[in-house]
Amino acid sequence: MITAFIHKFSSPKSFVRVTQKLYPFFIVFGVSMLTLGWIWGLLFAPQDAVQGNSYRIIFLHVPAVIFAELIYFFMAICALMHLVWRVKLAAYLIKAAAPIGAMITFLGLLSGSIWGIPTWGTWWQWDARITSTLILFIMYLGILTLHGSFSNKEKADRLMSILVVIGVINIPIIKKSVDWWSTLHQPASISVSGGSSIDPSMLYPLLISIIGLGFTLISLGILSSRSYIFNREKNKKWIQDSV
């Protein structure tokens, strides 16, 4: 029953049809929110008392690292769906999401590094968050490499899903263990997130940027999954008709 239900609503055909309709709304909403959040954050939000103006990187950095992890969790859910119910679309979505995840993780690392120069006086610190993000980035690349190595794409889908699921178990373990290790070797690094103490004048643009980047990335995901679905199903009739 459940299987039938899932398969009905997860055919690549209906996915492409629905997302094609949603795409214009998502992209317009996402980009305008992002623009609003960033202009607010860059020009109107007050200076940070401690870090000065360099903190304005937060409006890109924090959304980026949030989605670096969220995309991986999304992929893990897809991987489970693919392994348990053999949903083809789920595997396509993993394959489409992984490059975006890698890109945004890289952006998170890079912005963090650049932020680190004026704030910490160093562009790299072996702290729990940074190290686990770096490992996350490598895992994204590993997943892509694994999928690319097999000519039988159905096999590649399944192997990739196994790796994604094992990887998602690994993320909290790495975080925990790096934390453990780094607190032993060095004093805890500067905590990046302001938590609840953050002033509303900084919080609102941050939240808006997060929502904006989220919808922008979803739009990007729609595009990238569409091209991948077309690629994989190019012999199917519905694709040939739709072109």
Binding site: G52, N53, H61, I114
Partner: protein, 58 residues
């Protein structure tokens, strides 16, 4: 809350010496996201063309 945090354009660029970091992060970020969109669009275009030529030949 909605007062400009800077007095003039130069201050915006400079940001008390931090401008180079802030603006380079945003430049890189925006260009990477833009580039990904362009690549995705280009890929869709490519595969559609491929399918079309295949359809036409068969």
């Amino acid at each position: 809350m909605f007062d400009l945090a800077f007095n003039n354009f130069n201050e915006i660029l400079d940001m008390d010496g931090h401008g180079i970091y802030v603006w380079s992060v945003y430049t890189i970020g925006i260009s990477m996201i833009l580039l990904s969109f362009l690549v995705a669009k280009h890929r869709i275009h490519d595969i559609k063309k491929k399918i079309k030529t295949k359809n036409a030949s068969s």
